[in-house]
């Protein structure tokens, strides 16, 4: 191998110290060992991971449920503290004996820690952290695929086998391995802290996000405002990042971000008052549970104003998580990626995690508040009696389950991606104009109109007719979109070519 000499001073190869060394070594090892295997069986492994995850959740649920039965059977229970240990190992052992379960000495010691709420919280947190990390990883890959398809190319195809599904993992390994640069003139301390200020709030928003009626980490009575607050607080990290980089473009990006986020929060929060008024609560779980009656009972179709509110909210939420066409803070063509110009490696990845998680959170708000949360279009009142595991499973598939919630959220994430790769970016003055002079008046009109509707028309036949019309309209639009998509999928390349040929001059 020829040794090339370069005219500039060569920097020494990057050496990892401390825990990073171990992590990198581990990552390299996993990569070299697992990639050949993974690339052989991509599909089954993906499927297996999903099934395995589900089974894991079920196992937790069963275990904790079992311990709860024991605790509930304890008639002379002690005071219930936050630590939650009401049972001693001896009591558990006695229960197991009484119910003629094989009470080996070990089982009761294994079960005992399960009653600690702290442990449950840790397990729940682990799940949330996992979900939080998986969503961006998947969404980034998906974004690249969608972008590819929109531009008539394939997107990532290699890593992992089937359509490059492991591309994001590879990117992740790359990013962790990158050098952690801090510019010389930057405010090093703020520069280092800023990504966390963006990352932590969007993680915290997941704590109160209900994936299902019982699938919520903390059922807080003010969950809705908490989530909005967390999405709003994220901006602090972005501003600090832009400032601390000591780079003109970064500061511009940060300024734009501050303007945009603070102004768009107003129409967004105003329209969110509308489902709050309909439901009479700020509890996300209660709002979700109120929409059990199938497609036509979803809040978006309640009356014309909620419908307008839903659309307004969705547009405002695009601006709030700085997606196109409102992605001015990071517009790569004019601001060289804006606030994260100077970031590299892991910290840069944190910003991306925060952004994609925020995309999920705002979509989840749209789904929970307007589009029936975790319910399918079929009314939940038709559900089976849950007397066997098959029926429980069928209920989940047909009527309501976290799966549906995530599915709906990803539809909205898909629309965000679609918009990003098809619409041009608008100017900052247009952004602010559309907020103050378009969105906000619409939001106010919708709010007042909804209030009047609630007082005068709610529960009348007319209101029902309007609800059905709106529901059918949306159903028709959805169906039309799906059929066009199916047609396009079937005749993918021909269609592009056909249209192109037909529209060309002289054809």
């Amino acid at each position: 191998m020829t040794q090339f000499s370069v005219p500039w001073k060569q920097s020494p190869p990057l050496e990892y110290r401390g825990p990073a060394r171990g992590i990198v070594a581990l990552a390299r090892m996993v990569y070299t060992m697992a990639t050949p295997i993974v690339s052989r069986f991509p599909g089954p492994i993906l499927l297996g991971a999903i099934i395995g995850g589900t089974l894991l959740v079920w196992a937790h649920w069963m275990l904790f449920g079992f311990v709860e039965t024991i605790a509930a059977s304890d008639v002379n229970g002690a005071a219930h503290s936050v630590w939650g240990q009401t049972l001693t190992t001896a009591e558990i052992g006695a229960y197991l004996d009484a119910h003629s379960i094989v009470a080996s000495g070990i089982l009761k010691y294994l079960l005992w820690p399960l009653q600690l709420e702290l442990l449950r919280d840790l397990v729940g947190l682990g799940a949330i952290f996992g979900l939080f990390n998986l969503i961006p990883v998947y969404a980034i890959w998906w974004e690249r695929k969608v972008a590819g398809r929109i531009q008539s190319r394939m997107g990532p195809m290699r890593v992992g086998g089937w359509h490059g599904w492991a591309q994001s993992f590879a990117d992740g390994v790359k990013l962790v391995g990158k050098e952690d640069l801090v510019p010389e003139q930057a405010d090093a301390m703020l520069f280092r802290v800023a990504p966390y200020l963006a990352f932590v709030p969007s993680l915290l928003a997941f704590l109160c996000l209900p994936l299902g009626s019982y699938w919520v980490f903390r059922n807080v009575d003010v969950a809705l405002i908490f989530i909005i607050a967390m999405v709003g607080v994220e901006v602090v990290g972005v501003i600090v990042a832009g400032w601390a980089s000591n780079n003109k473009w970064s500061v511009y990006g940060a300024m734009r971000e501050a303007c945009q986020m603070v102004s768009y929060e107003i129409p967004m929060t105003t329209v969110l008052l509308i489902p709050i008024m309909t439901a009479g609560t700020l509890n996300m779980v209660q709002i979700g549970d109120m929409q059990t009656g199938g497609w036509f009972s979803w809040n978006a179709f309640h009356n014309p104003f909620t419908f307008i509110a839903f659309i307004t909210y969705y547009i405002a939420s695009l601006a709030n998580c700085k997606r196109a066409p409102f992605d001015l803070p990071e517009s790569e063509s004019e601001l060289v990626a804006g606030f994260h110009t100077e970031y590299s490696g892991f910290r840069w990845a944190l910003f991306f995690f925060a952004e994609y998680a925020a995309m999920f959170v705002v979509s989840a708000l749209a789904v929970t508040l307007f589009l029936g949360a975790w319910h399918t279009p079929i009314p939940a009142t038709w559900a089976f009696e849950e007397d066997s595991i098959v029926k429980i499973f069928l209920n989940g598939v047909l009527f309501s389950s976290p799966f549906w919630f995530i599915f709906k959220c990803f539809i909205f994430i898909y629309i965000q991606l679609w918009i990003r790769w098809t619409l041009p970016r608008i100017r900052i003055d247009q952004v602010l104009y559309s907020c103050v002079q378009v969105m906000f008046p619409i939001a106010c009109v919708a709010l007042v109109g909804h209030a009047v509707w609630m007082v005068l028309l709610d529960g009348t036949v007319f209101s029902d007719i309007i609800r059905w019309i709106l529901g059918l309209l949306t159903a028709a639009v959805t169906f039309g979109f799906l059929s066009v998509a199916a047609f396009g999928y079937r005749n993918g390349r021909q269609m592009v070519g056909y249209l192109a040929v037909k529209q060309l001059p002289g054809a």
Binding site: R17, G18, P19, A20, A79, H80, S81, V82, W83, L118, D121, G124, L125, I128, F129, Q185, D187, M189, L190, R192, V193, Y196, L197, F199, V200, L203, L204, L207, V216, F217, R218, N219, V220, D221, V222, I225, F226, I228, A229, M230, G232, V233, V235, V236, I239, V240, W243, A244, N246, V251, A254, M255, A258, M261, V262, E265, T281, L282, N283
Partner: protein, 210 residues
Amino acid sequence: MTLRLKKILLLMTPLAIAMFIAAAPVHAADTDLSLSDQGIQTSADGGLLEALMFYACAGVILASGLAICLSKNIVRMAVYLFGTLAAVALMYFLLLANFIGVIQLIVYAGGTLILLIFGVMLTSKSPWAKFEVKRSELIAAGVVCALFAGMLLFVVVNAEWPLETDAVVVGSSMTQFGTGLLTNYLVPFEAISVLLLVVMIGAAYMARQE
């Protein structure tokens, strides 16, 4: 081989903060929903965990407050203020005032603080808006504030507050807030909304470029 303690600590923050909320004594999921509808929550028997969380919150508040006092960089001061505000919000959660906690987060941390940072960014010409304070002045202010703190602490600790720790604690129910704002507090509510309108016009006028 040096242990990057700071990095580890930073990595721990999300988990740690998540833990605070996770361990907050308001177990809305566990309590009877009909009770929490009426905004009634039994007083939280926090014990050790509540104490730990309180001390953690208080530690963050006081540490970031001290950092604001000692910092010479105005941007950093604003970021430390974010720490104070967020920890105060957590303290409201500990005090069963969930609504105030989230309002603190959304209005204070998400609005007012951003406004302040925005102001800092627009008004400091050099990137590091540092300013020096004379040491003598610092010491004098410190002595005055220490005396003041001593007196206030004496008063606050020794005063006979009307305490009823065993009573049923009323949580922050939305219904209560709503009826409160539209009945007893209707006049201040209306007054403050007109105030906001006037202030908005004043601020827009003052900040407008000619």
